[in-house]
């Protein structure tokens, strides 16, 4: 729960500053951004073709390791820096149908059009609003004290491990709203078209990675299969880790539906910042995270090409500093450590609801500015 700390006028001025930053960036988009995303795509395609080719010789351990690594990197690039960002409309201004948010399809189980709904709209509009943002726990985990504890949640760490392992399927089933079906709020029949489209995509992905490419290797099929499984698993674990570091590290805030009713643009920006956390690291790390390491900037400007977030972050941080708004940022091991701790802690009932919960999760020094 968060209390607003700025006056209406301050919120308006704050929102206007961020709007101005966005406009400045939009006006500057051009050749540089087009060349960047094409370079990344070229690298991804080369890694994919190279990885799959090398895996054909996967009977040799060095070839298996190299091929699997290349394929895993290719899938990570495809899903994170390319797919996720292209589907946000970050490159729509190029008017290239191969880079259009409406047409892009990615190398993972979740059909692109469902992702555009569950992620671009539901998650990005309702970020960290408990009950509206289904990214809070994916309908499986308990990631917030606001979610009442039930004995089911004793399995929280186990569910998290399973979700991480099968993350691409977790993402694919996201729009199915399984927990609402279980609660009887929606009928399974209403979701039939959705399920069919998930089925089609999963079938093709499975055929490709687990049947067709292994068979092409003839007697070495098991090595290719193992390599493809490992590459998909690596991508699953990596993307789970990056994505869970986006909104659940210590210090990120949740919001209630009531407090976000009738919010202004400035307040919406404010919620995006309080609800998101950044990861620090080198350039390659940022690329492999799909620049979700700049989760705060991504949530403020989801349709600006993500490779611009690093330069925007300098200004966002400065603006936040002036308005006394906390800016949550830390290295992967620390941020993910607090996420793991939260997953484990929330498996158990809250001790003395309110005081106990807060004591278990002390706000960082930064946050005292904003938390009344």
């Amino acid at each position: 729960m968060t209390e607003m700390t700025l006056t209406d006028e301050q919120f308006e001025a704050f929102g206007a500053e961020l709007d101005a930053l966005k406009e400045r960036m939009l006006a500057d988009l051009g050749e540089r951004d087009a060349a960047y995303i094409r370079r990344i795509i070229k690298a991804q395609r080369a890694l994919e073709v190279g990885g799959r080719a090398t895996l054909m010789a996967g009977v040799l351990p060095p070839a298996w390791v190299a091929g699997t690594t290349m394929l895993a990197l290719s899938k990570i690039l495809d899903n994170m820096e390319i797919g996720h960002n292209v589907m946000h409309g970050q490159y729509d201004w190029m008017k290239d149908p191969a880079l259009s948010s409406r047409g892009f399809e990615w190398d993972t189980a979740c059909p692109g059009d469902q992702w555009r709904h569950s992620h671009n709209y539901m998650h990005h509009t309702h970020t960290n609003i408990v009950g509206k943002d289904r990214d809070i726990g994916y309908g499986i985990l308990r990631m917030s004290e606001e979610e009442p504890w039930r004995p089911y949640y004793l399995g929280n760490p186990l569910y998290a491990l399973l979700l991480a392992t099968f993350f691409q399927y977790g993402v694919a089933l996201h729009d199915l709203e399984t927990e609402r079906i279980a609660a009887g709020e929606v009928k399974l029949a209403e979701k039939r078209d959705l399920l069919r489209s998930i089925g089609r995509k999963v079938r093709r992905q499975t055929l490709k990675d687990y049947v067709a490419f292994p068979l092409l290797a003839g007697p070495f099929a098991p090595f290719v299969l193992a390599g493809n499984v490992t590459a998909n698993l690596t991508r699953n674990l990596w993307s789970f880790m990056i994505i869970f570091c986006g909104h659940f590290p210590d210090g990120t805030h949740e919001f209630s539906e009531e407090e976000t009713e009738d919010e202004t643009r400035g307040e919406w920006y404010y919620r995006q910042i309080l609800g998101s956390a950044n990861l620090t690291g080198g350039k390659l790390f940022h690329i492999l995270s799909g620049n979700l390491s700049h989760q705060i900037e991504h949530h403020l400007f989801p349709d600006i090409p993500a490779h611009r977030y690093a330069e925007m972050a300098v200004e966002v941080r400065e603006i936040c500093g002036r308005y006394g708004i906390p800016y949550n940022s830390g290295p992967l091991h620390r941020q993910f450590g607090t996420v793991v701790r939260k997953i484990t802690r929330l498996a158990l009932p809250d001790r003395g609801r309110g005081s106990g919960a807060v004591a278990a999760e002390p706000p960082t020094r930064d946050l005292e500015l904003a938390v009344a």
């Binding site: 201004w93 399809e105 990615w106 671009n120």
Partner: protein, 350 residues
């Protein structure tokens, strides 16, 4: 040289277009891999590589293109949508090739329009190796099946290209018609294809409208110049109108340099929802709200311009972005209708 132009043999096209390859290259599709090796190796998109660039006149540029196998070809006189990328953005302009129908290379002569983004870019920056896209071949301005005995081609400026294509096609086929080719340009220096026309075995007349030095005819079109003939005319509207005054049956095509006149005041224009067959009078609100008020249920999400769920095709008209104030007037572009309001008349694919 075929290996350079396209997945060459039909066998390789068949392999690349097979269902197995589609599965293996899914979900992106085989073109997204082959284009990395060579940007014109695409089965799904007609593309061409620029193999020669000539700047014959101060206000035009001539591009010779080698299209890939996906390009379906064209009939003499037809036009092609040419896609060019400038500063990371695709732009499409319609040009009529000047080469004879059926030839391996496509020749475009692009006249520079003052302030024209694509024409000025091509004049300044076109170079060998550049890749352009070719879409939507079309147009009814073509030669008839039965050729008349006497033919006159009349053109003005860069309107020369479709009629030159017709002329070259007739010559390549061998014909026995009597042909006059009348071309207007501002001056001798700006007259495209002067040398090429001089070498052809047809009667050629040049008219120079601004600097008459060397002109064969006066600055205005007169029927006495071509007499009784079947006329094919292409040029600016004033020329085509003058021809049609005397030859009502003339086949003609006119081109108008794009002019974007954006009304000052929003509101009052007509919003046409093409797919639902309804329309509304603009009340100044966002296109999404007005579409909903008209009883439509377009897809939408955040209603604040961030999620792109509501994007839909604007086929014509100008819109203003309600957040940035930017006005966008290009035809055939996708717009976020939740944060776009019409400026004048707008047509949407809704």
């Amino acid at each position: 040289m075929f290996t350079l132009t396209a997945p060459s043999s039909t066998l390789s096209s068949r392999v690349l277009g097979s269902r197995l390859v589609d599965l293996l290259t899914g979900p992106h599709g085989v073109d997204r891999y082959t284009e990395i090796a060579n940007p014109v190796w695409t089965l799904g998109e007609a593309r061409a590589q620029v193999v020669a660039v000539a700047r014959d006149t101060p206000r035009s540029v001539r591009l010779t293109l080698r299209p890939n196998r996906t390009f379906p070809g064209f009939k003499a006189g037809q036009h092609v949508n040419v896609r060019v990328e400038i500063d990371g953005r695709r732009h499409t302009r319609c040009y009529s090739p000047a080469n004879a129908e059926g030839s391996e290379l496509v020749e475009l002569t692009v006249g520079v329009h003052d302030g024209g983004l694509v024409s000025t870019f091509l004049r300044a920056h076109a170079q060998r190796g550049m890749v352009v896209g070719l879409d939507d071949v079309g147009g009814d301005f073509v030669l008839p099946d039965e050729l008349p005995d006497r033919i006159a081609f009349v053109s003005g400026g860069s309107g020369i290209t479709p009629v030159l294509s017709m002329l070259r096609t007739l010559i390549a086929r061998g014909h026995d018609s009597e042909i006059t080719f009348l071309h207007y340009a501002r001056s001798a220096a700006e007259a495209c294809y002067r040398d090429e026309l001089a070498e052809l075995d047809v009667r050629v007349l040049h008219g120079y409208t601004r600097e008459p030095a060397g002109t064969d005819v006066g600055p205005r079109f007169e029927p006495a110049l071509i007499g009784d003939a079947t006329v094919f005319a292409c040029g600016p509207p004033s020329l085509v109108d003058a021809v049609r005054d005397h030859y009502p049956d003339a086949r003609s095509e006119s081109f108008v340099p794009p002019t974007f006149v954006v009304p000052e005041q929003a509101g009052g224009g007509r919003i046409t929802f093409l797919q639902s067959g309804t329309s509304a009078i603009d009340d100044g609100r966002s296109l999404l709200e007005q579409a909903e008020a008209a009883g439509l249920t377009p897809e939408s999400g955040c209603r604040m311009g961030i999620c792109h769920s509501c994007k839909c095709r604007k086929t014509s008209g100008a819109v203003r972005n309600l957040i940035t104030g930017a006005v966008s007037s290009a035809d055939e572009e996708d717009v976020q209708i939740c944060v776009s309001a019409p400026v004048g008349d707008v047509a949407l694919a809704l």
